[in-house]
């Protein structure tokens, strides 16, 4: 496959913005990591997304102007607003919110009808069922309804697993598409106990792939779930299942589809994260395109990766419903002759919401609308989360944890989901839940030594900056409150974190004990759910803490994964 795509010039008009030139004979639409955001959102892309080693300076580790330059996006344009953090608030005023399932539905229907019946496919890369209070309360059932109405034909998963096996299976029972995951297997105990599996002989829990007919061509779609579910989340949600990247099993699957099923194209619907997909593409042969997610990287053009069998294109389609990827394939017998790819920002104002989807969303939201709709506080500044080390929204959560739980230090997970609030915007319980709605929200207060705190920071930092992507997990750095530190991403584990200091400048002592508050622990906790802690902090009307995030970066001067504006 060769890349013949370029970014569409986005005219600020509803009629022409989404008119795409016809290309090829099969259209695959890909969305990923919507995190259950049924309504249009603001979402600020990162100003810090550092790549080190061979990843330095390469997508997805480009931000701000370096990003615009790499992808030929005009500064000050709607695309610049959608894809970067540059002058975010100004852009928000000019171009408005993005996404929303009613708007996505309109766009998807149009892009599918443009190519005609039987010539397109709609895929979702996972993290579809989690991210809002509503999805959490309904355990993802709302999103199954939305997915069915949207017409999603296949999906894979990550946060979907955090509802546990029973809920997952109940939801999938109602899902009209296929749930694909080649890399989930029964544990040895579960296999001995004859636990439910798609293929008991191999122990594969889910259907690994599906072959779809698109315009008379056979396209294999293979699902790759998030490889580290039982590490990143409490193991109790998936006690019977083993995950992992498993590229050898994947290679066998691809070879089988190529040699035995005689497919014309192979697509990997992946939730590996982009760095992992880039490495996988160099090792596994026979995949035409990897449609990737998990790391929430909005990368406008595919990256071409060479391997022993040819080349594989690797994409990543952003998050929160902001984008819809359009992969047009020109398929010949047994091969993809050419490809055109576009990552379309979904500008809600340019799309008329689909009425049926709008009705479905309103009906699902109705039972909670009153309880979650009241203003608790106003955003004192732009509140965002995404970024390698800190975000103002997470600083707010850390302040809440320290204040409400009377702790010296707060730790908050580096999640990449969670929407952005503009300065002055009212904050409701629904907004608080959009940052915190998980199935293990309990807060904790623990006594940790300085050495233990450093170990946690080192460990998470290695998950972010290990030079081998297969040893990364694809999150951002754990957020800290009441603590400052220096970080040298290019160092090795155990040596990246230094200069740990408490607020006020006292050095964190390795042997001394400190009171630490946090949430989202993989160990079972009994504390108040974090959303109640944050809401009660906001209600208290305490003056906002405007301290700058206390992370000093070392050895990354000139890295295009950092903008001057933090």
């Amino acid at each position: 496959a060769t890349l013949a795509g370029s970014l569409p010039r986005l005219a600020r008009s509803a009629d022409s913005a989404y008119d795409l030139d016809r290309f090829g004979n099969a259209r695959i639409l890909h969305m990923t990591d919507t995190h259950a955001q049924l309504k249009p959102v603001y979402f600020r892309e990162p100003s810090v997304n550092i790549g080190i080693g061979s990843m330095q300076g390469n997508p997805p580790h480009l931000v701000g102007k370096a990003f615009l330059d790499r992808f030929g996006i005009r500064p000050d344009s709607a695309d610049a607003y959608a894809f970067t953090s540059i002058e975010f608030e100004k852009g928000a005023g000019r171009f408005g919110k993005l996404g929303g399932f009613a708007h996505l539905k309109t766009l998807i229907d149009r892009l599918r009808s443009d190519v005609g019946a039987g010539r397109s496919l709609l895929l979702d890369g996972g993290d579809l069922w989690q991210g809002t209070g509503l999805a959490n309360a309904m355990q993802g059932a709302d999103m199954v309804d939305a997915a069915n109405l949207l017409g999603i034909e296949a999906m894979t998963g990550h946060w979907e697993f955090t509802y546990g096996e029973q809920v997952l299976r109940d939801n999938l029972e109602r899902f009209k598409g296929e749930f694909l995951a080649q890399n989930v297997f029964l544990t040895e105990e579960a296999a001995f106990n004859d636990a439910k599996a798609f293929d008991p002989a191999s122990g594969r829990v889910f259907k690994p792939s599906v072959i779809k007919d698109i315009g008379g061509h056979r396209v294999a779609v293979i699902g790759q779930a998030f490889p580290y579910v039982p590490i990143a989340h409490p193991k109790r949600f998936t006690p019977d299942w083993k995950f992992g990247i498993r590229d050898e099993e994947l290679q066998k699957l691809v070879d089988g589809h190529r040699n035995n099923d005689k497919v014309d194209a192979v697509i990997l619907l992946s939730h590996n994260g982009m760095d992992v997909d880039l490495k996988l593409a160099s090792r596994v042969t026979g995949i035409d395109v990897i449609l990737g997610g998990h790391t929430h990287d909005a990368v406008p053009q595919p990256i071409t990766v060479a391997n022993a069998g040819g080349v594989t294109l690797v994409t990543n389609a952003g998050s929160n419903g902001k984008y819809l990827a359009v992969l047009d394939l020109d398929i010949a017998k047994g091969k993809v002759a050419n490809v055109r790819y576009r990552l379309l920002p979904v500008f809600s104002e340019l799309l008329k919401p689909d009425l049926a989807m709008q009705a479905l969303i309103e009906k699902a939201r109705e039972p909670h609308a009153a309880a979650w709709g009241d203003k608790i506080a106003a955003a004192d500044r732009l509140l965002y989360r995404r970024g390698n080390f800190s975000g103002t929204m997470d600083q707010l959560i850390c302040d809440a944890l320290r204040g409400e739980l009377h702790a010296e230090i707060a730790l908050s997970p580096g999640f990449r989901w969670g929407t952005t609030a503009l300065a002055g915007q009212p904050l409701t319980m629904e907004d608080v839940l959009a940052q915190t709605a998980i199935t293990y929200p309990e807060t904790y207060v623990a006594t940790m030594t300085g050495a233990q705190i450093k170990d946690v920071l080192e460990d998470v930092c290695d998950n972010l900056f290990n030079p081998d992507p297969y040893y990364q997990q694809g999150g951002d750095m754990v957020r800290v409150g009441g603590l400052s530190y220096a970080c040298t991403p290019s160092e090795t584990v155990g040596k990246r974190i230094s200069e740990l200091k408490l607020n006020g400048g006292r050095t964190l002592e390795a042997g001394k004990s400190y009171k630490v508050a946090g949430w989202a622990s993989v160990n079972e906790q009994k504390g108040t759910p974090v959303w109640d802690v944050v809401a009660s902090h906001l209600r208290s009307g305490k003056p906002p803490n405007r301290d700058a995030p206390g992370v000093t970066l070392k050895g990354v001067d000139g890295n295009p994964g950092i903008t001057a504006q933090q």
Partner: protein
Amino acid sequence: AFAAANDKYPEEAFKAKSEADAIKALYGKTAEASDKVKLDAPEIAENGAVVPVSVTTTLPDVTSISFLVSENPVVLVASYKIPAGTMPSVANRIKMAKTSNVIVVVEAGGKVYSTTKEVKVTVGGCGG
């Protein structure tokens, strides 16, 4: 009762603190790296107490397969006898105290071969 006529338990090898010492105690020689020994282990362990690892090899005349973890207090974890007629392939589950190299050693045709993979043991922490 334990009826099988097995060889003596290799006490000394199970006391070794380094992989070289353990391999020496087991085989009386050093191992040479071989790409014909395929070790399947996760990059990141889901649980350090239960790490599934397996090995298979295309080497002929395999007589023994051993698993070692370089950072464990006892480096040698398991050593298997492969009689003629048994396939040169074993899967088992091992403990890892922390991030470490897993080394698998294959004795074949009187020679000793090895391959190594790093397995990370982490507290986790999630993201996307």
